[in-house]
């Protein structure tokens, strides 16, 4: 690696100069005793699994702002195209905007080719965009869909690397969800088994990770249909107030 860095004028590509400025500002602000506003993050457990006829995507519904729950029922499974959906973890605004931009570009591409878009195309567009921003766009995504070549599932990291696998988990609760997958995943599952597996994986994330919680959303994509089940399971219902005390529903 070079030890002498010669300053050269930037030649194309995104300019990250403001990031250095922001770091300096944060340092100054912290010295005075204040803190910068925290971005709303989806602490999150998201996962996906390929079964016999298609793909099942799952997500929790908690969005956090620092240590406070900002949204108890946010939607983390985003539409990309009629046959492709994408779960997003990381900074909520980043996942929302990134998936919307790629969804829009993919629709134009699909109109241009005259064909249903392929999951590999969406993957290529997402990874090239995230790599261009060198990880500053905090979007960790689980992309799944069914196209002319069958069901596909990708995990996409904020720096722009992707993995194509039969089962993936992302987010702060991904370790808990992956533990469930590693134990019970089998190739060529039936739809009901796959839905149950994804539900249990997200539940593991919800109950064992502080950044994930509330309900479980599922999205089942096959060649013939898309089932967007929101919510699939309400595991954290608020208790009913009786007399003066709050009776809590039992946690399963």
């Amino acid at each position: 690696m070079a030890t002498l860095a010669v300053t050269r004028p930037p030649f194309g590509g995104f300019s990250f100069e403001n990031c250095k400025r922001n770091a300096v500002i944060e340092g100054e602000v912290n010295k005075v005793g204040c803190s910068l506003p925290a971005a709303r993050k989806t602490g999150t457990t998201i996962c996906g699994v390929i079964f016999k006829d298609g793909v099942v995507l799952g997500a929790d519904t908690r969005a956090t702002e620092g240590m406070v729950v900002a949204d108890k029922n946010c939607s983390k499974i985003h539409y990309i195209s009629p046959n492709i959906y994408c779960c997003g973890a990381g900074t909520a605004a980043d996942t929302e905007m990134t998936t919307q931009i790629i969804s829009s570009n993919l629709e134009l591409h699909s109109l241009s080719t005259g064909r249903l878009p392929r999951v590999a195309t969406a993957n290529r567009m997402l990874k090239q965009m995230l790599f261009r921003y060198q990880g500053y766009i905090g979007a960790a995504l689980v992309l799944g869909g069914v196209d002319c070549n069958g069901p596909h599932l990708y995990s996409i990291y904020p720096h722009g690397s992707t993995d194509k696998l039969p089962y993936v988990t992302m987010g702060s609760g991904s370790l808990a969800a992956m533990a469930v997958f590693e134990d019970r995943y089998k190739p060529d599952m039936e739809e009901e088994d796959a839905k149950r597996l994804v539900r249990d994986a997200i539940a593991a994330g919800i109950f064992n990770d502080l950044g994930s919680g509330s309900n479980i959303d599922l999205c089942v994509i096959t060649k013939s249909k898309v089932d967007y089940i929101r919510p699939h399971d309400e595991v954290n219902k608020k208790g009913i107030r009786m007399n003066e005390t709050l009776q809590l529903e039992s946690l399963c």
Binding site: M1, A2, T3, A5, F16, C19, K20, N22, A23, E26, S35, L36, A38, A39, K41, G43, T64, G66, M67, A89, G90, R124, K127, Q128, L130, F131, Q134, G135, Y136, G138, A140, S155, Y157, H159, G160, S161, T162, D163, L165, G171, S172, S174, L175, L210, G211
Partner: protein, 225 residues
């Protein structure tokens, strides 16, 4: 890959240090810790890699394919940052297709051409990239003999230099090369925390590419403890 990482300041991590709910490793870059190697024999080349990709201490993918095809008979072995090496490999694949498609050559592209394309990208953006790449393949008649018949790379390669020095002899045939590669990778995976999973092998020759996977329990064993 500790030395290069210290040189490049990570602004992203400073900004989100306040949030305790999101663990550290979710913000770290995905890296292929890795052991990769390539051995030339008379008639082709054997390449091999482990299959582990890590984000900090968590294994993001335990069955990664680090042997990426660039052209029909040219492969690259990737080590370093997963995002950087995937992006460079995609760019070089595109350039090679333009090179042999648009420029209408009769023969397949030379391995040297692919290696030079990699070198151009890696050198131009050397301050921003973390990538170590082995390029290997069978590329028609070459006017220059390859300098080294054996190459190893990645974080796990340091553990097998001694093994390679003592066990490699010129004039090995294809099966001996495969055995040597599998043995060397198993030894490196045993000792290096960032390498593991399965061993992926590929043989590239005039006839084509032959891919093979050796699962964890089928790896050659060396020590009894």
């Amino acid at each position: 890959m500790a030395a290069p990482a210290a040189m490049i300041p990570y602004f992203g991590q400073q900004m989100s240090s306040k949030n305790d709910l999101v663990p550290d490793w979710t913000r770290q870059e995905v890296s292929t810790g890795t052991t990769i190697m390539a051995v030339e024999y008379d008639g082709g080349v054997v390449i091999g890699a482990d299959s582990r990709t890590t984000t900090g201490a968590y294994i993001a993918n335990r069955v990664t394919d680090k042997l990426t095809p660039i052209h029909d008979r040219i492969f690259c072995c990737r080590s370093g940052s997963a995002a950087d090496t995937q992006a460079i490999a995609d760019v070089v694949t595109y350039h090679l297709n333009v090179h042999s498609g648009v420029i209408e050559l009769d023969e397949p592209p030379l391995v040297e051409t692919a290696a030079n394309l990699f070198r151009a990208s890696c050198y131009r953006y050397r301050e921003e990239l973390t990538a170590g790449i082995l390029v290997a393949g069978w590329g028609g008649v070459s006017f220059k003999k390859i300098l080294n018949p054996v190459a190893v790379g990645g974080s796990g390669s340091t553990y097998i230099y001694g093994f390679m020095d003592s066990n490699y002899k010129p004039g090995l045939n294809k099966d001996q090369c495969l055995e040597l590669t599998a043995a060397a990778l198993s030894l490196a995976m045993e000792r290096d925390g960032s390498s593991g999973g399965v061993v992926r092998l590929a043989t590239i020759s005039e006839e084509g590419v032959e891919r093979r996977v050796i699962l964890g329990n089928q790896l050659p064993k060396f020590s009894s403890h």
